[in-house]
């Protein structure tokens, strides 16, 4: 794996992917006023005839997507993560229940979104969409992986929710390594036999930094980018349970219902090793810079280090 380099935000990768997907005439893009933010605006500029602006009306957008999917289109609908939640029941009843392939993207997920404050900081979206039968839930960690995983949605054949982040994060992949990613298969970024850190989104780079700190103290960690929260790569988790003394999960999301919960549910079923969760405790965020908020919420690389050490002691 090449060293992390500066890249874009995962929402940039989403926008770049939509533009590439435009070659397929079935692809349509639906917007609810935030195309400049979600980056669907790139598709709009190149393909206005296949972009539908639905105004600030997310519930309608989701069902318009369902109707288009039932008519042979492959709709990509996006808004802020928090506002997709306004249409949760629409996704549940109107999209997933009939099995219509609508791809929903929520950008600006997590407290990492920053100064807009708690109303814009979705910390429950992954949990919500994970409960819906047949729904794929994706949360990429950088722009290149976001682009690749979005491209793969074209032939995915199931409804999906992808959470992207507002802010730039260090690249975990390069052009070649990102091509090896597969929806539903976790990606090992680092190998170590003492502890496994399973992370998603902006917490993947924090997990890598935590692993470097741990290594200085003789603790070697495996780091997994679990970009697909559902279907969860349980085969990989089973391997980690065999290889490592414990698992620490890391997410910019509530510890209730997200990646940590998904991993814990599987490990509690199959048994084996202790699991610790690094995530937003049962509380709302507030305005602040991303770094400040990560400190406040206890979701920095230091918190991951502490959890690993606590688990191993």
């Amino acid at each position: 794996m090449s060293a992390p380099s500066a890249g874009g935000a995962s929402r940039d990768g989403y926008g770049a992917a939509l533009l590439r997907l435009a070659d397929d005439p079935r692809v349509v893009v639906l917007e609810a006023d935030l195309g400049k933010s979600t980056k669907s605006c790139l598709f709009r500029e190149a393909n206005p005839e296949r972009t539908v602006s639905l105004g600030i009306a997310e519930q309608n957008m989701i069902l318009v997507g369902a109707g288009m999917a039932s008519s042979g289109k492959i709709p990509f609908a996006s808004t802020f993560a928090i506002f997709t939640e306004r249409g949760f029941e629409q996704v549940r009843n109107g999209v997933a229940r009939p099995g219509l392939v609508v791809h929903l993207c929520g950008s600006h997920g997590g407290i990492h979104t920053g100064t807009d404050g708690s109303s814009a900081q979705s910390i429950e979206d992954l949990a919500l969409y994970r409960t819906i039968p047949g729904m794929t839930v994706i949360h990429p960690c950088d722009d290149l992986s976001s682009e690749e995983l979005t491209i793969q949605l074209l032939d995915h054949g199931r409804p999906s929710y992808t959470r992207t982040a507002r802010n730039k994060t260090p690249r975990m992949y390069d052009e070649d390594s990102s091509k090896k990613l597969k929806i539903g298969k976790g990606s090992k970024l680092r190998e170590g036999s003492d502890v496994a850190i399973i992370a998603c989104g902006v917490m993947v780079s924090e997990a890598m930094r935590a692993a470097e700190e741990l290594s200085k103290n003789g603790v070697e960690a495996t780091v997994v980018d679990m970009h697909t929260i559902k279907p969860l790569d349980t085969d990989l988790i089973d391997e980690l349970v065999q290889e490592c003394g414990g698992i620490v999960t890391a997410e910019d999301h509530s510890v209730i219902g997200g990646l940590g919960s998904a991993v814990s549910e599987h490990v509690s079923y199959r048994g084996g090793v202790p699991v610790r969760m690094v995530g937003v405790s049962d509380r709302f965020g507030e305005s602040g810079e991303p770094g400040e908020l990560m400190d406040l919420m206890g979701i920095t690389y230091g918190d991951i280090v502490d959890s690993c050490q606590s688990l191993l002691s």
Partner: protein
């Protein structure tokens, strides 16, 4: 029946007979299930019979024919009305129809495209159908297809905000192939609409949203047929038929009676209902 070429040309009298047969199916299947929604099925069935009898292009042998017209039953609790017409058109069998609400039945409690041939929408949660129909109509336009989209909603249903989101968007996008029917039967689950939250002059509200509107007696087959033809001919902007109807129409003790919104007739009531519908 293959209505792909829309060869059938039923008279209003024949459409009335079709609707009457459907009314009998409706009360029988709800009685057999011991549950269901007779009131809103009986208020809607004249319009549904006219649509399937003379207007919609579909192919029973190929229910997924891409260029079929779409009928989106947004008030999905009135599923017996849909199942009765699907049986009459040959999409489902009598056994299918009479297994309504039973485990494994293709006739689920609320209409569901995943379960039933000929059903184009999975309903059950109100306020979503017009948005879905808008998506179907936008896709048809992108495909340069001539297919029409018909959406039926209840009047209580339009208390849902999403309905008005869709109404505004349909006007903005000038989706002329979208045809709305409001079943204005004045009763919702708990009571009369005017008691629960009156929706007022629905036609004027839709007109103010940019829709072309026609108001009719939804049980007068002449008016129903003319309104359907008018709506189909209007292709520049979305059109709405506000159909003034009677909940439970055709069965005296169900008519205009909120208690038969979602209640099955008992054995004696079935006998009386079938006598009245003979």
């Amino acid at each position: 029946m293959n209505s792909a070429d829309r060869a059938s040309d039923m008279t209003t009298s024949q459409l009335g007979e079709l609707a009457l047969r459907c009314r009998r199916h409706i009360v029988k299947m709800i009685h057999a299930a011991g549950a269901g929604h007779p009131g809103g099925s009986l208020s809607a069935i004249d319009i549904i019979a006219a649509l399937y009898g003379n207007q919609l292009r579909f192919d029973v042998k190929n229910p997924d024919w891409a260029d079929r017209d779409r009928f989106i039953m947004s008030k999905g609790h009135a599923s017996p009305a849909v199942y009765s017409i699907l049986y009459e058109m040959g999409f489902i069998t009598e056994d299918d129809m009479m297994s309504f609400r039973k485990l494994g039945s293709v006739c689920q409690g609320h209409v569901d495209m995943k379960w039933t041939n000929g059903v184009d929408f999975s309903a059950g949660s109100l306020g979503m159908g017009l948005s879905f129909g808008l998506g179907c109509a936008l896709a048809a336009r992108m495909d340069s297809s001539n297919r029409d989209v018909w959406v039926m909603v209840g009047d209580g249903e339009i208390q849902e905000g999403q309905f008005w989101e869709a109404a505004m968007a349909a006007d903005f996008h000038s989706v002329g192939k979208l045809n709305l029917i409001v079943d204005r039967n004045r009763i919702q689950n708990d009571d009369f609409v005017e008691v629960q939250m009156e929706v007022g002059d629905v036609g004027a509200k839709l007109a103010s949203f940019g829709w072309d509107v026609m108001e009719i007696d939804g049980h007068d087959m002449e008016q129903v047929s003319q309104a359907i033809q008018w709506s189909s001919s209007m292709t520049a902007s979305p059109t709405a038929i506000v159909a003034h109807t009677i909940k439970g129409k055709g069965v005296s003790f169900m008519e205009d009676n909120p208690s038969f919104h979602g209640k099955a007739p008992n054995d004696n009531e079935l006998v009386i209902a079938l006598e009245e519908l003979s």
